[in-house]
């Protein structure tokens, strides 16, 4: 028992250090931060206080516990929570003294069967967990306490909240609502991760029970941190993001999900079966799990995320989902870093450098200083967005490599901008054949119809045509293009040829190309001479192409290509 207690304390201390190290930079941020940020903020405040004061505050909170509805004979357990917290706070001998006795009792309660109605317990835990934080929240939550066994389970879960929710008890007593919301959100997370860690314990056959407990604690801690990431991320994703970014998340799923979460998910959901809805996990677990891998640094969104998560009525499902991801994360981490199974005792000092306040864990064999971690996160973000852009830009699936992709993107954006210019030019010249009353119908038609095939040859889906071409914004080009807009088709070749000859003098390009251009243009124009449309897009496009070439905008190779395209069959 004492050994267990010792190890537990050790873990607590480690975790305390870690979270303090991790979240010291975040200290100054709002209390409404969800997750371990808040708790570690509290925790880092704690050491500066007198541990006795902490204990007394704990006691006061515990008294508030006991005085209300907690008629269970487990005031010692209450103190045990405070004891945990105190241990967190000071890692002082006083705290240890308080905590140790209760630690053992909690441990025993932890060791009880985990499968005892986690669902009900989790839902009640929500209420119960709020207790340490405010008296205000107490009445509503305490009413949910069913009976002794449920409470004991809750106590068991409390012990697993090593990630620092306990600090909420002590420090942010002045921040009732936000903390309450936070804990409501976060409180559920460790429950399920504890559940999973329990499963993990069963599944990890090669690990000793003690080590597995350490792993549990470790996974719990990681899960705590990562759950909050997902808590941040999932509401963030659902909230104010544009539609374009939602697919980015899906992309993330595919892109970064290869780290193993996807593979873990099915087996995980199988494990989950007895406890929470696995179906919900399958559907939604994948999304946040990969987000957990790419931790985000959004402070404001954390607040929103926590509040949103707290306000959602699906907290059990979400917590289960989060817990699922934690489980996967824990599995993955332990699978990828074998040394960590035994590493809890071996390298407690290695944890602080591996963790920073965005809760990214270094993978095995990778550099672990904060800069490289931040860089890795950034790189992951960027690659995720590049994948999304790859879908947007047509014809980029075969392209590999970031530089080439970026070039393609740049070309595509340029071509789109030029198309807009060209179309506005066309609209400026076209005759409005219809009454203005029809504008409304036109609008409806446009909105309702999908992107159908365009009748203008110039915009056939071969966007590469658009890529290279037109700089219509130059007045010279417009001037040159104007003759085409006349209603007399026979004027066109004459004016164009005259312009060609006039422009030829100043150019270094070979004349035969220009002559071939002239001929082609003649052919094309004569082909289209019979059409009823006085303003033929082909004419315009071809002419403008020619002119832009003459202005030196295009290379001769491209001109040849376009000649093939337009003057061909």
């Amino acid at each position: 028992m004492d050994d267990i207690g010792e190890n537990h304390e050790h873990e607590l201390e480690n975790r305390n250090e870690n979270s303090i190290n991790c979240q010291a930079p975040v200290m100054s941020s709002d209390w409404q931060f969800g997750g371990a940020n808040l708790t570690s903020g509290g925790m880092s405040l704690v050491p500066s206080d007198n541990p006795l004061a902490i204990g007394s505050s704990c006691a006061s909170v515990a008294d508030s516990f006991g005085s209300n509805i907690w008629e269970h004979p487990s005031n010692s357990q209450n103190l045990g929570f405070c004891g945990f917290n105190v241990q967190h706070g000071g890692s002082s001998s006083n705290a240890v003294g308080i905590g140790r006795g209760t630690l053992t009792t909690l441990r025993s309660s932890i060791d009880r069967p985990f499968d005892m109605g986690w669902n009900a317990a989790s839902s009640t835990l929500k209420g119960g967990f709020l207790l340490p934080n405010t008296n205000r929240i107490l009445p509503q939550s305490l009413s949910q306490l069913p009976d002794d066994s449920a409470f004991i389970e809750r106590a068991a879960r409390f012990s697993s909240f090593i990630g620092g929710n306990f600090s909420d008890m002590v420090s942010p007593l002045g921040m009732p609502e936000s903390v309450g919301l936070y804990t409501r959100g976060v409180g559920l997370m460790p429950v399920h991760e504890y559940v999973f860690s329990a499963n993990e314990m069963k599944s990890v056959s090669s690990v000793e029970s003690q080590k597995s407990k350490l792993n549990v604690a470790e996974a719990t801690r990681d899960a705590c941190l990562q759950v909050e990431n997902r808590a941040k991320e999932s509401p963030l994703r659902k909230d104010g993001r544009s539609g374009s970014l939602v697919p980015a998340n899906e992309e993330t799923k595919q892109g970064t999900g290869g780290s193993g979460n996807e593979s873990d998910e099915p087996e995980f959901s199988g494990r989950e079966g007895g406890q929470d809805e696995p179906s919900s996990l399958d559907g939604t677990g994948g999304e946040p799990s990969t987000k957990g891998l790419s931790a985000k640094k959004r402070k404001r969104s954390l607040q929103d995320a926590e509040i949103d998560q707290a306000k959602r009525g699906q907290t059990p499902t979400e917590a289960a989902k989060d817990g699922a991801e934690n489980q996967q994360k824990g599995d993955q981490k332990q699978a990828t870093s074998a040394n960590k199974n035994t590493g809890k005792k071996v390298s407690p000092a290695s944890h602080p450098p591996k963790e920073e306040y965005i809760h990214v864990r270094a993978r095995r064999g990778q550099a672990t200083n904060n800069h490289s971690l931040a860089e890795r996160v950034r790189r992951e973000k960027i690659s995720e967005r590049m994948n999304f852009l790859q879908d947007l830009v047509p014809g980029c699936n075969k392209v590999t490599g970031k530089a080439v992709m970026l070039d393609e993107i740049i070309n595509y954006v340029q071509s789109l901008q030029r198309q807009v210019e060209f179309l506005s030019m066309k609209l400026a010249t076209v005759n409005p054949r219809l009454d203005f009353n029809i504008e409304g119908l036109l609008a409806k038609d446009i909105i309702q119809s999908r992107a159908g095939p365009s009748s203008t040859l110039g915009f056939s889906p071969d966007l590469s045509v658009g890529y290279a071409s037109l700089h219509l914004s130059q007045p010279g080009l417009v001037q040159a293009a104007l003759p085409v807009t006349g209603n007399n088709a026979d004027v066109i070749p004459r004016s164009l040829s005259s312009q060609l000859t006039s422009m030829t003098g100043g150019l270094k390009e070979p004349n035969q190309l220009l002559n071939s251009w002239e001929d082609e243009l003649h052919n094309v124009v004569q082909m289209n001479y019979g059409t009823s449309a006085p303003f033929n897009s082909l004419n315009v496009y071809f002419t403008l192409l020619l002119i832009s070439y003459l202005m030196g905008q295009m290379s001769s190779d491209l001109i040849k290509i376009y000649l093939m395209l337009f003057a061909g069959p």
Partner: protein, 158 residues
């Protein structure tokens, strides 16, 4: 016309279409199109282009950095009516540029990223990550714009 697809009145496409058509009719109402003098057509072309950009930026409001930058550009242009150097803006851009784009974040995107920044309005003041986000949204809006304008042009030229 029977249309099985549901029309979303608040989609980007519909917002842009209504705004743009309104602007188009306004422009057309100003001068008759029969005159085909080059300068007039050029002027009309500029107006239409500005109207297209403006309607797109207004459809997106301030949700995206690029739309905000575009609106800012359009407003300053319309207010001053001359190529203003806007020293303030330049200095702001320079400052933000130095702070956000100094060095590379280990990815090696320098040249292309700067090109992209020039293309996407407001891109100078964004780091690569946000730049890619903005680019994605900008591409989506540009494709919508092109689609709508194509349809309008086809409608009128047929």
């Amino acid at each position: 016309m029977n249309n099985p697809h549901h029309m979303n009145p608040r989609s980007l496409k519909s917002r842009f279409t209504t705004r743009f058509l309104r602007a188009l009719t306004k422009i057309r109402a100003q001068k008759p199109i029969s005159s085909s003098s080059p300068t007039e057509i050029f002027r009309r072309y500029r107006k239409i282009k500005v109207a297209a950009d403006k309607s797109m930026a207004y459809s997106v409001r301030s949700r995206k950095t690029w739309s905000r930058a575009m609106l800012w550009k359009l407003r300053s242009r319309s207010h001053r009516r001359r190529p203003v150097k806007t020293k303030f803006r330049q200095s702001v851009m320079k400052n933000t540029k130095t702070t956000t784009t100094t060095g590379e974040d280990g990815v090696g995107f320098g040249v292309e990223a700067s090109e992209l920044r020039e293309l996407v309005p407001g891109g100078e003041a964004m780091d690569l990550c946000n730049l890619l986000d903005e680019t994605a949204h900008y591409i989506k809006c540009l494709t919508t714009q092109v689609q709508v304008m194509k349809k309008i042009a086809d409608f009128y030229s047929l």
